[in-house]
Symmetry: C2
Subunit: 190 residues, 2 copies
């Protein structure tokens, strides 16, 4: 089962569940809801991009999509605003123990991250290594420096330990990545 | 045919086309592409939110959605970054001649616009009156002032003429709303 990232499958008998690898997304959704409810930041996951091919209209408000396909996303999955700054990130999980495969990030997503930095936004990756159950914030500037200076098809785990910021899981908010943004961009004493 | 806003229907025999009322969206997509290519701003339309109920997996990279439903969006359709500022807006067309029906904007979209302003972002509506073929930029601050001070179910056309900024259509970019943002937020001489 290879569900495109972020696809939520509603409960029907016809569906196998794609829960594996969706925990980071659930954690981030809960975190973003926490930020929203506490008026800390307004950050949402974008819906999964699809191309609709067939729609049945039973009535004005009752349309059922009968055929659609997943599209490759041209941007990252999450964006929003924090302390007046534009926030943009991609979140990925990997089962890999030694490195993060770059096949996880599409070429146009890399271009997108570059544009965001050029225009003055805050961009980063959140990467969870499932085997170690460790979640890292990696600033897009460090990520881009790595891929510009390496021919490798993956980023070694060591690089995350060296350049990344570990996000300790808490009860609420689960993945408090705003704390890392504060440390890097707002120089607040934590 | 009432397609939820922003739904693109690919060409198949089973589909009736929802082209009517989609011109503003096409104009904005072209405009945003222009901004992107000229490195002026990074603004994208969010995908249409859906709930997926059934998926067929022919192979790893060949999944077909067999049943899905449209969801009510909880945010606006467009967001991004311009000159370091977070940009957020909703775009709507109306056939109405005398006013813009407030049923076009969902309650949680209004809450979303309020949050964006509170967090220091630039938020607005782009409204096209099809009958007059006129497109207005209405700043979210003016929009919110109106709905907080009126019991009406629609905003009179006069209000757009008074408080809004008309966006003259050009060849490229079609709907140059950044020009209005410059005038209001960056006090540049145009």
């Amino acid at each position: 089962m290879h569900y495109p990232k972020g696809v939520k499958i509603a409960q029907t008998k016809d569906v196998n569940y794609g829960n594996r690898g969706m925990n980071l997304e659930n954690d981030l959704n809960e975190t973003n809801t926490y930020y929203l409810l506490h008026d800390i930041a307004v950050i949402h996951k974008k819906p999964t991009p699809i191309t609709i091919k067939k729609v049945d209209y039973k009535s004005r408000n009752d349309a059922i999509i009968k055929e659609a396909r997943f599209k490759i996303p041209s941007t990252t999955d999450y964006n929003g605003i924090y302390k007046g700054k534009y926030i943009d990130f991609e979140a990925k999980e990997t089962k890999n123990k030694t490195s993060f495969p770059l096949s996880n990030i599409h070429k146009h997503q890399i271009e997108h991250l570059k544009s965001i930095i050029r225009h003055g936004g805050i961009a980063f990756l959140i990467v969870r290594f499932i085997f170690y159950n460790k979640t890292y914030y990696l600033d897009a500037k460090d990520f881009l420096l790595f891929i510009e200076n390496n021919e490798r098809k993956s980023i070694p785990y060591d690089f995350f330990e060296e350049k990344g910021y570990i996000i300790t899981e808490k009860y609420n908010p689960r993945i408090d990545y705003i704390k890392i943004i504060d440390r890097i961009y707002f120089k607040e004493v934590l």
